[in-house]
């Protein structure tokens, strides 16, 4: 089986079969990362460009390691200034990159839809490594992989996603991915962080942490951007933490074997109390490990996988 599209732009475009294919491929790559010599020759001679136009050490590093473990040549292009500021449009950038004949482009951009622009004009496969508040498909895939590894399934699980849903690409991709795979998703957060008609995306909406995590199998806490306070999305970090921080007390509402997830980096004490973040329920480090495997799987599958 193969992926039906040349690019990975979002979870929304994927079928359940394709998600399963990616996860199974990723599971087979996990073993590579445990070897003494963590390298296979799969993508030898291929060039992966990591085009990171928005700062992100974690995701970029994860893609870079994924490429290197497959023996690809990985090239990082990073810039925090937007293309507009530089005076070079994304389309110029794309044409320049295309002229260098890479085999796959990974793009992170602060504007929603930027990977779609590249995908439209470039013949090479494009992997979306996060575009604005739109999608972050590799994060959702690694989250699915983590859940599957720990729970043996996704279907039927009760998942709570808590925090700034409106501005979170992780939330969107996970909503698409989890609902496709048959999980029941509840989103929770202050009403100011809940986008309009989110319920029409097939999720249950609530405004209390306790309500969302009751009997949950999985709790995904999202990162809070402190700048959002300027937009009056919440009155203070203190108030947010008082009412939406996952701690040793409220976590008792969830199932005994609940998994706590976070896309990182964590504001300890804001989204998750330190003892939970570093405690037995937390699978945050598994997420990081699985991230490399998922990205290896995608590089492999999108470059023709031989």
């Amino acid at each position: 089986m193969k992926l039906s599209k040349k690019d990975l732009l979002g979870i929304r475009d994927l079928t359940v079969e394709e998600i399963n294919l990616i996860l199974e491929t990723a599971e087979s790559f996990i073993e590579v990362s445990t070897r003494d010599i963590k390298k296979v020759p799969t993508l030898r001679g291929k060039t992966v460009i990591n085009l990171f136009l928005e700062a992100s050490t974690r995701t970029r590093t994860s893609f870079e390691i994924a490429g290197k473990r497959l023996s690809a040549d990985t090239i990082n292009i990073s810039s925090t200034t937007s293309s507009i500021v530089k005076g070079e449009t994304l389309i110029d950038t794309a044409r320049n990159l295309e002229a260098m004949n890479p085999d796959v482009i990974v793009i992170r951009h602060s504007a929603a839809g930027a990977p779609q622009i590249l995908a439209r004009i470039m013949k090479q496969p494009i992997i979306n490594a996060g575009d604005g508040a739109h999608e972050h498909p590799t994060q959702a895939l690694l989250d699915l992989m983590t859940i599957r590894a720990k729970k043996g399934k996704v279907a039927g699980l009760k998942v709570a996603i808590v925090g700034d849903i409106a501005h979170s690409r992780v939330a969107r991709s996970n909503i698409y991915g989890l609902t496709k795979m048959g999980a029941h998703v509840t989103v929770a957060g202050p009403a100011t962080m809940m986008p309009r008609y989110i319920d029409r995306m097939g999720v249950t909406v609530c405004y209390r942490l306790e309500e969302a995590i009751r009997d949950a199998d999985i709790i995904m806490m999202l990162r809070i951007q402190t700048e959002r306070q300027q937009e009056n999305l919440f009155p203070s970090l203190r108030e947010y933490a008082n009412y939406f921080c996952l701690n040793g007390e409220n976590i008792k509402l969830a199932k005994d074997d609940v998994l706590v997830m976070h896309p990182g980096p964590i504001n300890r004490g804001v989204e998750i109390a330190p003892e939970i973040a570093d405690g037995p329920y937390s699978v945050i480090l598994d997420q990081v490990t699985n991230g490399v495997a998922v990205r290896m799987a995608l590089l492999y599958l999108l470059t023709g996988g031989k």
Partner: protein
């Protein structure tokens, strides 16, 4: 030979309640006669022979008073790479418009006599359509100090608007409404509460939620429509609301009109032709300001057109260069190059039974003329011979190479539409003829 006989077309002139197959005679740039068999009576007259006429046979065609677009962006001076007065005029005449009123958000802003005069002079050189400048309400459209309304009126401006930006200062809006009304000039309001729309790029709804694009809520428009209506009610003066896009605005305007508030409104074809679903693939050609809304809004706008709440259909022609649009959605310029698709898209309202053909022509000709106080929009004998001849049956495809505007930014590219202006006559002169 300056006599032109339009023979046998279906003449529709809502200003005189005319609708029937007739002839129309143009002489000296004016409408000289209208009626059945003018041709024969002309021949019968001892002073006239057939050779004195140029005759156009228009059987099966609709002959209407020249269409007027009361909301066009011509971009010159300042943004000639997007459009010039010449290319905009060409686009207008190809779209069936004989007159356009152009918004002042040029560079420099049309906030003083010299810019107004420049536009009028350049339009006269082009000699294609009548161009009526709309001057800014405030200097630089900065919303602080009023422009010299009187002087601008004398220079040829027909209305005032800071279009592109709302007048956020309520006191300035009040004074502008008062001062303009003493000159018998309309104020055209771009209604937007910028604190509610800030950062947004598309309608706030399911599509913005799915795409992760910051939304512009419909209330950003409604709040400002409500404020402007309240001020207009207080001053008792005329207010015109530009590009209505929401159900809430339609309701507010309807209620106000029922109370006797002197408010008129326009909408644009894209607001009754497309929903925000058009943005789904991050198509920047569907990025407009105000944004495309929901199906409920479309239904309300159609109802507003049907019951007369919305008196005019304007294109809000906003041409852009490809480089303004071929960027990330949130950085892309807003607007549709609408002059050449406006008529066909609006004719759909007739096909769909929302408006009669007479009502549509009224909204695209007589009503804009009345709102702007310009002596157009009629086929009365003695009036300027500004005429649009429409082939209702002509089916055509919107193709960027066929558009005369420099702006090819349209979400309607590739659409097959029905109805086209085949002849545009301005002051008795043929400015566009479909071959």
């Amino acid at each position: 030979m300056d006599r032109l006989l339009l023979r046998g077309g279906r003449i529709i002139d809502p200003s005189q309640n005319i609708d029937g197959e007739m002839d129309l005679l143009i002489e000296g740039g004016k409408i000289a006669a209208i009626g059945k068999d003018i041709y024969r009576s002309g021949v019968d007259s001892p002073k006239t022979s057939v050779a004195d006429f140029k005759i156009l046979d228009l059987l099966g065609m609709v002959v209407a008073p020249g269409l007027i677009d009361m909301h066009t962006h011509l971009r010159e001076p300042g943004f000639e790479y997007r459009e010039t007065i010449r290319t905009g005029s060409e686009a207008a005449s190809h779209g069936g418009f004989t007159s356009v009123a152009c918004m002042p958000n040029t560079r420099p802003v049309n906030d003083n006599r010299s810019v107004t005069e420049f536009i009028i002079r350049r339009a006269a050189e082009c000699n294609l359509v009548n161009v009526y400048p709309i001057a800014a309400i405030s200097r630089g459209s900065k919303g602080v100090t009023m422009t010299e309304f009187w002087d601008l009126k004398n220079a040829g401006a027909v209305a005032f608007s800071d279009d592109g930006k709302p007048v956020t200062n309520s006191a300035l809006m009040r004074r502008a409404l008062e001062y303009a009304s003493s000159l018998d000039m309309p104020i055209i309001s771009h209604c937007e509460d910028v604190s509610l729309s800030a950062g947004g790029t598309i309608n706030e709804g399911l599509v913005s939620t799915e795409l992760g694009l910051a939304g512009i809520p419909d209330v950003a428009e409604d709040v400002m429509v409500a404020r402007d209506i309240i001020i207009s009610e207080f001053t008792g003066t005329v207010l015109h609301i530009a590009h209505v896009s929401t159900a809430g605005a339609v309701r507010l305007i309807r209620d106000a009109r029922e109370r006797g508030v002197k408010v008129t409104a326009e909408t644009a074809p894209h607001y009754f032709s497309l929903t925000d679903e058009a943005v789904k693939e991050f198509d920047t050609n569907a990025k407009v300001y105000p944004p495309l809304r929901s199906m409920e809004d479309i239904i309300a706008i159609k109802e507003g057109l049907r019951d007369g709440t919305i008196a005019a259909i304007a294109s809000d022609h906003a041409p852009h260069a490809i480089t303004d649009k071929e960027v990330e959605f949130e950085y892309a310029a807003s607007g549709i190059a609408g002059l050449e698709t406006a008529l066909a898209l609006s004719l759909k309202l007739v096909t769909d039974g929302i408006l009669t053909l007479n009502q549509l022509i009224e909204k695209m000709s007589a009503n804009p003329a009345r709102i702007l106080h310009i002596p157009k929009g009629t086929l009365q004998v003695g009036a300027d011979a500004d005429i649009t001849v429409i082939d209702l049956e002509k089916v055509w495809t919107v193709d960027p190479h066929g558009l005369r505007s420099k702006g090819k930014n349209s979400p309607f590219l590739g659409w097959t539409v029905k109805g086209k202006a085949i002849l545009t006559i301005v002051g008795g002169g043929i400015k566009h003829r479909e071959t």
